[in-house]
């Protein structure tokens, strides 16, 4: 259901979306069931003149079973959820597939600092390319990222990849993702980091092939690069200002 709202652009996004759908089915069933039973009771056992409530203690087993049997099935469904969750969790957070490229992500008050490993695929070498608020990756490439923070907690969040991880000053946290859909997506800071938390956005650009990626890297090195983040911001400020205004007006006038 999530992909209806946000594109699914990494290899494990589908797994997480599946988990969402599965849990929705399970808890949705219970939610509806309990509501239905409750509504039935409320209608059936509403106060009527001359009808006395029955005396049920709920202590003998013959009565208790009515809450115990649903309760056992809750346990069974919990086990199902746990098994699937652990499978996805181990895949996303615990195992690291072989890296094809590396990036380093550094959070600071209040922007993102990205280091691309460059042609040699290693961080900390001469050919690293660093940017602020613009991250470039190639499609179908397994990336390892190293998260660091210069001051307070931040959270590297890419909703389109279903990726979120706190950055902690003093710790290096490693993770992975593999984009599988080209496009330009939001990066957010999802952990409050002070006054400018609300402006700490960035952009991730997923390139179709090596060529366009290299072109972007080249322009960054030549300092001819126009920030995709800034471009998006400018475009958006204009469009939403007008859009939201009209929508608001519409909504308010409908009251």
């Amino acid at each position: 259901m999530i992909e209806y709202f946000v594109p699914s652009a990494s290899t494990y996004a589908g797994d997480i979306d599946f988990l969402f759908d599965m849990i929705t089915v399970i808890v949705g069933f219970w939610f509806v069931m309990v509501l239905a039973v409750m509504t039935y009771f409320m209608v059936r056992f509403r106060r009527k003149e001359g009808v006395r409530a029955s005396y049920i203690s709920g202590d003998p087993h013959s009565q208790k079973k009515w809450t115990h049997y649903p309760h056992y099935s809750v346990i069974a469904l919990d086990v199902v959820i746990i098994v699937f969750t652990v499978m996805v969790w181990v895949d996303v957070k615990q195992t690291l597939p072989q890296a094809e490229d590396k990036i380093r992500v550094v959070g600071q008050q209040w922007s993102w600092f990205f280091i691309h490993s460059g042609p040699d695929g290693k961080l900390g070498t001469e050919d690293d390319v660093s940017t602020v608020n613009d991250l470039h990756v190639k499609k179908d490439t397994v990336y390892h990222f190293e998260l660091e923070s210069r001051d307070v907690l931040h959270n590297f969040s890419v909703p389109a990849f279903r990726l979120r991880q706190d950055t902690i000053p003093g710790r290096t946290i490693t993770g992975w993702f593999e984009p599988n859909k080209t496009g330009v997506y939001d990066i957010q800071c999802a952990e409050i980091c002070g006054y400018g938390h609300g402006i700490m956005g960035a952009t991730i650009v997923v390139h179709e092939d090596q060529q366009s990626y290299d072109a972007a890297m080249e322009s960054i090195r030549n300092r001819t690069y126009e920030s995709d983040y800034q471009k998006r911001l400018q475009k958006m400020t204009v469009s939403t200002a007008s859009n939201s205004e009209s929508f608001t007006d519409k909504l308010l006038s409908s009251f």
Binding site: F5, V6, D15, L19, I23, V27, F31, V34, L35, V37, F41, M42, F45, R47, R52, A53, S54, Y55, I56, S57, G58, D59, Q63, K64, H71, D78, T85, V88, W89, K93, D151, V152, L153, N155, P159, A160, R162, R164, Q165, D166, P169, G170, R171, I173, D186, Q188, A190, E191, I192, Y195, H197, G198, I199, K235, M236, N243, S244, T248, L251, F255
Partner: protein, 571 residues
């Protein structure tokens, strides 16, 4: 019993001493549990107004970014952070806890277990005075240079520890001191509740004759005591970081910010159950009364509550799944988190089963109680999404979390509070509240409430994250559709807040003009309904003896469908 004769004498002397008290002595320095309960309640309700006002201000900013909010002014980023931080802290520490535990605990425990006061009345007064002091310190924190603290109610360091990072030097410290004082106040109050209900029960009252709400408040107090200690130590450490410059939680000096998260959530998760349990207890009292039914499986509910209380201490790290804890630990906490759904589900099933075969009368308190069940159910099932660690990767700190915990905390703190208030109002003030206005208030609260938070589930699924004062820096989130949802939520909020005026009118007018309440308007069993409304100082003219459990409704062979706990013969 020899003891009873002695106590009767002392009781007479006791009542006599209090005759000539001035108004100030009676209402501000009283040691009477009912007055202290009311003090807590009014302070809590005042803080609810403050918290609601903050919510109004920042929701207006979210719906109409940059606009000058009527009655507030412009909400900048620093202002916004301060508003959300203090909205969260106020609603949990200064509304839910004082009203649900302290106010209802103070008013109900001595009345329900049949004694004349708390066992430590002066300690009780001290608890309220420290609480009041914490309120004052909290308000001071808003007005110091730099403004109120804006690091979220979780106050994660290093942001909260270093003034250069949070830009609110004294605001952060005063906020922390206020929270610590509040903890101390409730520690003292909790000791009083626990000791009172352990030691001062009426003769004949066995463990299983104690009304569920008393059990719940006592268990909540115990859980609070057990969980808050490490955080008090942590607050001292964080205060040292802020004021002395130590580096307990600042990595540059060798500290570890993750330790604070553990300290905080080791308290913070049991805290959810600390406020949930009293609300569940209140709902149990109301449901049995208005369904004229015995509570389904009293002992089952009791044992599952113990299980919940125990499990609540081993789930805390599910707030930190992606906050940098070791990913292997997450699997353990995933299992414990989903385990806790089992006792809670059992409790809810038992509540629903209580309705079976009843004679349900939809008076205002009953509406609130049923509303609690439905909304809390919604909050409970959405918790499964977040308890699932892999899904939490996507939902952590998103609006889905906000919608989820408001769907649990709103029923707990607000619906639970209103349910209890409508139910015990006759006992507190000796007058009845208006039924029609109460029902208008109910529907006017519950429908807009869902209007606020159901849409927020959707924006959460769209990846919108928390604590952002203006989404225009995030192109994917600044679309017209999402903005429309935000506007809808804000309009719902304002509607809900407006309906609270109905309550305020009903509350204050009924206090003076309402119909006089009889001693037992709802024909309920528990001991507080055997004394006049409002109860006199010292509560019971003659101390009661208890013969049976609290939920003996519609017992076959009785003429009446209720059977007070202290009535020796058939009713």
């Amino acid at each position: 019993m020899g003891q009873t004769t002695v106590t009767h004498d002392s009781h007479a002397a006791h009542g006599h001493d209090h005759h000539e008290q001035s108004f100030i002595m009676k209402y501000f320095f009283s040691t009477d549990h009912k007055i202290i309960g009311l003090q807590y309640m009014f302070t809590g309700m005042f803080m609810a107004i403050v918290g609601g006002y903050f919510a109004y201000a920042f929701r207006m900013q979210l719906a109409f970014p940059g606009m000058e909010v009527p009655l507030y002014g412009t909400v900048g980023p620093g202002q916004y952070n301060m508003l959300i931080t203090n909205h969260g802290a106020i609603m949990i520490f200064w509304v839910a806890m004082p009203v649900l535990i302290a106010a209802f605990g103070n008013i109900l425990i001595p009345l329900m277990i049949g004694c004349d006061d708390m066992v430590f009345p002066r300690l009780n007064r001290l608890s309220y005075q420290i609480f009041l002091l914490s309120v004052v310190v909290l308000f001071m924190s808003f007005f110091v240079q730099g403004g109120g603290f804006g690091g979220a109610w979780t106050s994660y360091p290093p942001l909260s520890a270093v003034a250069e990072y949070n830009l609110t030097d004294w605001g952060a410290s005063l906020w922390l001191i206020a929270v610590a004082l509040e903890f101390v106040a409730f520690l003292i109050g909790g000791i009083n509740f626990v000791t009172t209900s352990m030691n001062a029960r009426a003769p004949g009252m066995r463990m299983t004759d104690i009304p569920i709400v008393v059990w719940m408040i006592v268990l909540a107090s115990i859980m609070f005591m057990a969980s808050v200690g490490p955080l008090i130590a942590g607050s001292v450490m964080l205060l040292m970081d802020q004021r002395v410059g130590t580096t307990f939680f600042v990595p540059s000096g060798g500290g570890d910010p993750v330790l604070w998260q553990h300290l905080f959530w080791f308290f913070g998760h049991p805290e959810v159950y600390v406020v949930l349990l009293p609300a569940l207890g209140i709902v149990a009292e109301i449901m049995t009364t208005f369904a004229r039914k015995k509570l389904f499986g009293y002992k089952t509910i009791l044992y599952t509550t113990f299980a919940t209380g125990g499990l609540a201490f081993v789930v805390w790290a599910h707030h930190q799944f992606i906050a940098g804890i070791d990913p292997r630990m997450a699997n353990i906490f995933l299992v414990t988190t989903l385990l806790i759904s089992i006792p809670i589900a059992e409790i809810l099933f038992s509540y629903v089963a209580t309705l079976y075969g009843g004679s349900i009368e939809f008076r205002t308190p009953m509406l609130w109680a049923l509303g609690f069940l439905v909304t809390f159910l919604l909050g409970g099932v959405t918790g499964i999404y977040l308890g699932s660690s892999a899904l939490d990767i996507y939902f952590h700190d998103s609006y889905f979390v906000i919608a989820h915990f408001h769907s649990t905390f709103f029923p707990i703190a607000i619906i639970g509070m209103f349910a209890g208030l409508y139910h015990w109002y006759p006992k507190m003030f000796g007058r009845m509240m208006d039924e029609t206005l109460g029902k208008i208030h109910f529907w006017g609260t519950i429908i807009p409430f869902n209007g606020i938070f159901l849409p927020l589930f959707l924006v959460g699924m769209a990846g919108q994250h928390r604590r952002i004062y203006n989404f225009q820096h995030f192109p994917d989130l600044a679309t017209a559709d999402l903005q429309g949802i935000r506007v809808f939520a804000t309009v719902s909020l304002v509607t809900m807040l407006l309906f609270q005026f109905v309550f305020a009118y009903n509350f204050f007018v009924s206090m003076f003009k309402g119909e006089k309440a009889p001693a037992n308007p709802w024909k309920s069993n528990t001991l507080e309904w055997t004394v006049p409304s409002p109860p006199p100082h010292g509560n019971f003219a003659e101390l009661p003896t208890v013969y049976r459990g609290p939920y003996e409704y519609s017992v076959p062979g009785n003429k009446e469908d209720y059977w007070p706990q202290n009535m020796p013969d058939r009713n």
